[in-house]
Symmetry: C2
Amino acid sequence: MLMCSDFGPFGVSAGGTVVVKIDKSVLRSFALFEKMPDVEIEELLSRATTRRVPSGEAVFEQGAPASHFFLLLNGRLKVTQVTPDGQQIIVRVVHPGDLFGFAKALRRPDYPGTALSVIESLTVCWPTDLWPHFIDRSPVLAASALNTIGARLEEAHTRIREMSTQEVERRVAHAVLRLTKQAGRAAEGGIRIDFPITRQDIAEMTGTTLHTVSRILSAWEGDGLVEGGRQKLTVRDVTRLQALADSAKL
Amino acid sequence: MLMCSDFGPFGVSAGGTVVVKIDKSVLRSFALFEKMPDVEIEELLSRATTRRVPSGEAVFEQGAPASHFFLLLNGRLKVTQVTPDGQQIIVRVVHPGDLFGFAKALRRPDYPGTALSVIESLTVCWPTDLWPHFIDRSPVLAASALNTIGARLEEAHTRIREMSTQEVERRVAHAVLRLTKQAGRAAEGGIRIDFPITRQDIAEMTGTTLHTVSRILSAWEGDGLVEGGRQKLTVRDVTRLQALADSAKL
DNA sequence: AACCGTCTTTGCGCAATGGCAAAGAGCAGG
DNA sequence: CCTGCTCTTTGCCATTGCGCAAAGACGGTT
């Protein structure tokens, strides 16, 4: 499986797509690299390859050996896991600027989940072997990486706490609010979630079923809280939704 | 709040208890320190303090600034989190040899949970500031720490997956099996969980209620799968319990 | 413009769980 | 040995949320 184009910052990938040259200014625009000296960024980029991931395609798959780690430049991914009996859950949504797939950094031999692009995406790829090297070279990056992992762990625990103690409606409310924060874009009359998302997706993020999510969203729509659509969701009244997420009943 | 005795490896703690001198052979017996050179272990110990934690007492509390990180030598702790509305969940059980409370290593300013001793325990404490120092000095430790964090993240995801896709009975089965693996001790006619654990605890680990856990365990006991008791649990038939945890129905 | 596949909505009935309440049991301390 | 406290068991009932099934939209494609 070809995980990344092997042509360096220039070149033509397997699919015939011209691989974009990544300028350091692009990286610099992400918080992670904000304070990184030019030389270091260039060093990073000199080792990097890039990959265009058409919508619906996987960057890596659950169980595959962790050959690379990645930075999402553009687009949106969902990381999923499949249970032995075939059920799927969404572990996380990856947004532009996020590092992902650094399983090996945590001494895991292979990817614990599948990273699936939801819309056409662009990633930077580095061979996992380079991870220690980068950590050594760039204390900033090392710190950020730990930050990221800490945040991720905390997020996981938050989710566990929610699933343990809250009914479905509040969980869905929290999930939707999180999405608007991470991927919200101002739209007419509310905040629109900026990538195609299905009720099924929301169900897999909250540990419930497509049907229940649909019912809940319908109810909310009736109350003027949100506005739905095919693979679309706009939050009309963030405040009230937040209230619903926080306290028990509306 | 006095987190650790300030008397070094010798001395008398606030409670008047003689603080045990930790010998390097004790640390060496844990996988984490197995391959660590003598000098390094001594260096670690020279900076360490110790603390005896009577049953029911907290090593640190949720929200408190993360002043130390710890190694559990002896005893058993449970790490809990309390939700804003007062419900509690058990995040993890800490076993002898586990590092815990290294929130700061992940750039968290304070402890995300409370570590409560279930039986009288003995911990080694280091100031958080020393973490980077240790990581620098001991690549083995650094690697192990990452290992630990990776495992912890994976564990969290496993739990999310289970809570998303499995009914309560299977979740309880998994939890009990995990406990027997981590804290099982051979007993007459089965494997006994080696520390006092209540149905409430199990409920908080699996995201259900005391009542449901009690019902499930009663049913299992009727089937000869386990044997209960006040704060006791012995698994009689691991194989069958495993089968129940894996496949749907018994 | 017609067609098709995917996503969404909804009704209905049921099984799984949570809530509540009260009684029973084991353990520790006096 | 008695007392009190905490932990556990159980019955009953109210709800939640899931399964199943079918029909309706929406968008993209030819």
